[in-house]
Structures are given as structure tokens and as C-alpha cells.
């Protein structure tokens, strides 16, 4: 399998000396072109740190990350961000409150020297189901779901091959979550994108991803396919616990 994204024995350590925190401790994963890969875990499991390490927002203290066969340099080069883009968890925090949607979307185009910006901005808004009428609004004039659509549009406007999704729907209501998940699903099919998606919600990851990894305490607990998950073929206790918990409350601890 030729992997588009190849992470080998990734370690991420914050701080030094006795206060050092090992957020990620030896994670290895491969994601093929066009695949959708999920990372599931609870808070503090290091799942988001893996994503942040891929796009250079967290330091790689050991191990390597390869994209299309070449090792990534730190800091990342500009062309990396044309191939890999990220959507963050909280649409209320990740958009500049005093920039219009137009400015949010035009800025990456200007940085990367794209032409035909006018058309691209309008196209990006149409693609995420908002339409050109949203172009000159400010974030506070948008609902949570609309903001997350703008964040997706911002990520996609550079026509990347890989999209890193960090809990893209956990700040949204259930009905809005369904809309955003459908949007992401449709965009991936239309454009053959590769997704790496992080979530604490096993059902969301099972819906979106072909393969997934369960993380706990900075380590990979288990890697399994969607079919294995459906067949409840989890081999570790922790994954089974997550599976049980995802069905809601049960009275007795059995």
C-alpha cells in the first residue's frame, strides 16, 4: 500500500525536565490516498496532538511524518499547506471576529498567489452550501453550523488533498452535526479527498471513516476497520468500554 500520509513512531513532548508531558508516545499510522481515517479517544489521549503535529502546530520530538513519501520539514514549507489543511473544533474561536467571510477566504488565496480570487471565493461558498450572499458577513452574524461551513470553505479553498478534521462537529447541535457531516462526506466523494478525523464520538467516526485508531494515554490502543467495529470485533477492553458507552446509559456494570 502506498501511503499518502505515513506517521512512524511519533512522539510529542511538551516542556522539559521533570515537568515534561509526553502527549503522544509512539504512534504509527498510515493513511492511503482517498481514505478516511479516524482517531478516537477521550480527553488527554493525545488524539488532537497527533493532528497538530502533522500540520506543524505541535513539536515532533521523535519519529517522523512523511507526506507522499517525503519527510516533512520543520517549519513546514508553504506548499505543504496547499496539500494539507485543517478544520478546528470550535467555530466560535477559529474565525477572526473582525474579519468578514470574504477576508477569511481571500487571505489564503493571496498568501499562496492564486489567481481568479473573486470566482474562487464565491465557488467555495457555494460548495459548502452557503452561497455568495454570505460573503460580506461577520462571524457573529452566522450560526454555529454556518461558521463551521466557513471554516470548511477556508480549508478547501486552497484545493488541498488532505483535510485534517479536529472534532469538527462536537460544538454543534445534533441536527446541525448531521448537516456538517453530510457536507464533509459529499466533498470527499466529489473531490477524492483524504481525511484524518479526530473525535471523541465513536458513532461519528464510524459513520465517517473506513479505518480508525483508538488512543489512550498518548498511545494507540487498537486499530480497526469500520466493519470490525460493527462486528464488535474489538480486541481490547478499552475499545469495548467505549463501544458500550456509545449506546447510552446502562444500569448495572457488567
Amino acid at each position: 500500500m502506498s501511503a499518502l500520509l505515513d506517521i512512524r513512531n511519533l512522539h510529542v513532548t511538551f516542556g522539559a525536565g521533570p515537568d515534561a508531558v509526553q502527549a503522544v508516545r509512539g504512534v504509527t499510522l498510515k493513511v492511503a490516498e482517498g481514505e478516511s481515517y479516524g482517531i478516537v479517544g477521550e480527553s488527554g489521549s493525545g488524539k488532537s496532538t497527533v493532528l497538530r503535529a502533522i500540520c506543524g502546530l505541535a513539536p515532533t520530538s521523535e519519529g517522523s511524518i512523511l507526506l507522499g513519501g517525503t519527510e516533512l520539514t520543520a517549519p513546514r514549507r508553504a506548499d505543504f499547506y496547499r496539500r494539507v489543511q485543517m478544520v478546528f473544533q470550535d467555530p466560535y474561536a477559529s474565525l477572526h471576529p473582525r474579519h468578514t467571510v470574504d477576508r477569511v477566504l481571500s487571505e489564503p488565496l493571496a498568501i499562496h498567489g492564486f489567481d481568479d480570487r473573486e470566482r474562487r471565493v464565491e465557488q467555495a461558498l457555494t460548495d459548502v452550501g452557503l452561497g455568495p450572499s454570505f460573503r460580506f458577513r461577520y462571524p457573529h452574524q452566522l450560526s454555529g453550523g454556518q461558521r463551521q461551513r466557513v471554516a470548511v470553505a477556508r480549508a478547501l479553498i486552497l484545493e488541498p488533498r488532505v483535510l485534517l478534521l479536529d472534532e469538527p462537529t462536537s460544538a454543534l447541535d445534533a441536527s446541525i452535526q448531521a448537516e456538517v457531516l453530510n457536507l464533509l462526506d459529499r466533498l470527499r466523494t466529489e473531490r477524492g479527498l483524504t481525511y484524518v478525523m479526530v473525535s471523541h464520538d465513536l458513532a461519528v467516526v464510524a459513520h465517517m471513516c473506513d479505518r480508525l485508531m483508538v488512543m489512550q494515554h498518548g498511545q494507540a490502543v487498537e486499530e480497526l476497520t469500520r466493519d470490525a467495529l460493527r462486528a464488535r470485533a474489538a480486541t481490547t477492553d478499552y475499545t469495548r468500554q467505549l463501544l458500550t458507552a456509545s449506546h447510552g446509559y446502562t444500569k448495572a456494570a457488567s
Binding site: 457531516l181 453530510n182 459529499r186 468500554q241
Partner: protein
Amino acid sequence: MSALLTVEDLRITFPTRQGPSEVVRGVSFTLGRERLGIVGESGSGKSQTGRALLGLTPPPGTATAKRLEFDGIDLRSASPKQWRALRGGRMSMVMQDPKFSLNPVMTIGRQIMEALAFHGRSGRAEKKARAMAMLEAVQIRDPERVFRAYPHELSGGMGQRAMIAMMLVTEPDLLIADEPTSALDVTVQIEVLRILDALVTDRGMGLIFISHDLRLVASFCDRVLVMYAGRVVEELKASELDRAQHPYTQGLMNCLPKIDNDTRPLPTMTRDASWAL
């Protein structure tokens, strides 16, 4: 079944520049010693409903009702003194995030003992014993350490248990839990709910469980009120949720991704303007 709490036509209004805005519009229900769930999405008025029951509608908002009775006491005309005796003593509330609702500069033990002192227990030894017993009851393995700990020294799950302990130590008749487990990890969430479940059952309390998570509420409560735009659109038994009549309830049920079936795209909701009428 005698009603512990009766709410009739509860309305909560906030003044805005565009004139008064009614966020809760005529909510009525009765509660016995049972577990009642209130479900809705953000802005549905579910949290405001819960707060109004404790007289905690934040000013300049105002809450009015035709009837608001707790165990024979008319809450609408309760004096501040009566409220202080009720709140934390006979009815208490567990908030969403222990990080923001515990006092950061007071140890857990002192906060629990303060609640006891406020509601008429005197002896220090007695208060400490009761606080420790309560911490054990919420399955904190090392109650001595937690008793002396400050909130920032505890994990989210521990903090939430400590808050539940603090709210239950006065043995209230009614507990209002506003998203008590939403800030917690799924596996911890189940543990905290088990504790809550056991305490509610053993002590015969009434519980109002407010949450956005329909699946969780359905599996935890006896009865569910579904709120939309400040109104109760449907009331049903938790076990009969799959027989929901209202399109909003059905939509909420269907739009969740499920591990076992692959509906693609997920059904989304078309909000009918008439639901909000």
C-alpha cells in the same frame, strides 16, 4: 402519586432592544419522585426552565407562572429567606462544568461543610463525618485526599462527583442536573450517571435531568420532555421514544450517526415554522 413539583404555564422573558423576547413560553409539567429528562438543542429554553425552578433566572430576565409549587410551597411568592432555606437544602442543582461552578480558592471539604453549616448542622466533627461519608457515596476512592484538595487538583470526573456530593449532602428532595455529564468523557459519564441513579433511587428524590443528548436521556430517565423554541413539543415515556409523534423528536432521533447502520447521507431536519408557534 403526589406531585413534588407542579409547574403550570411557566414563561421567561428577557428584554431586548427589539422588545421583550420570550425564551420559555408556557411550559407545564408535574414531577413526582421520578427521573424526568428535559431535552432540546441550544436555545430551546431547557436550561432557563431549570434555573427558573430555583428562582435563578438571571436579571433582567423575569419568570412568571400560573402555578409554581414545590411540596405545597408557592415558589412565586417565596421571600428571599424562604428561597435560601430551599435552595441547596431541599432542592439543589448540579451544573455542567465543575471547573466553573466550584469555588477555586476553597477546598472541597470546606465547600461541602459550608453547605451543611448553612442548612443547620453544627458540630464540626459531625459535618466532617457526613462530608466524608458523602464523598465515599459518590465513589471517590480516596475521600481523605479529595476532602483536602482544591478543585484544580481534581480531574473533571472527580470534580463532578465532588459537586454531586456537595449537592446531595443536605439530602434534598429535588435535584436539578443541568448537563451534569456533558463535560466528561464517555466512560466517566456512565460512572457518574450510575452514582446519580443509585442515590436518586435510594433516597427517593425527584430528579430533573437537562441535556441535549436524547440518546442518553432516553436510556437514563423515566419520562422525557422535548423542548423546541421555548415550548414543550412532546412529552413521552423514555421507553416509548421510538414511537415519538412530533417530527422534531423524530428528527432528533434520526439525525444521529449510528455505529451499526450506514445511512448516507444522514437524515437532516427541515424545521417547520409551525413548530415554533
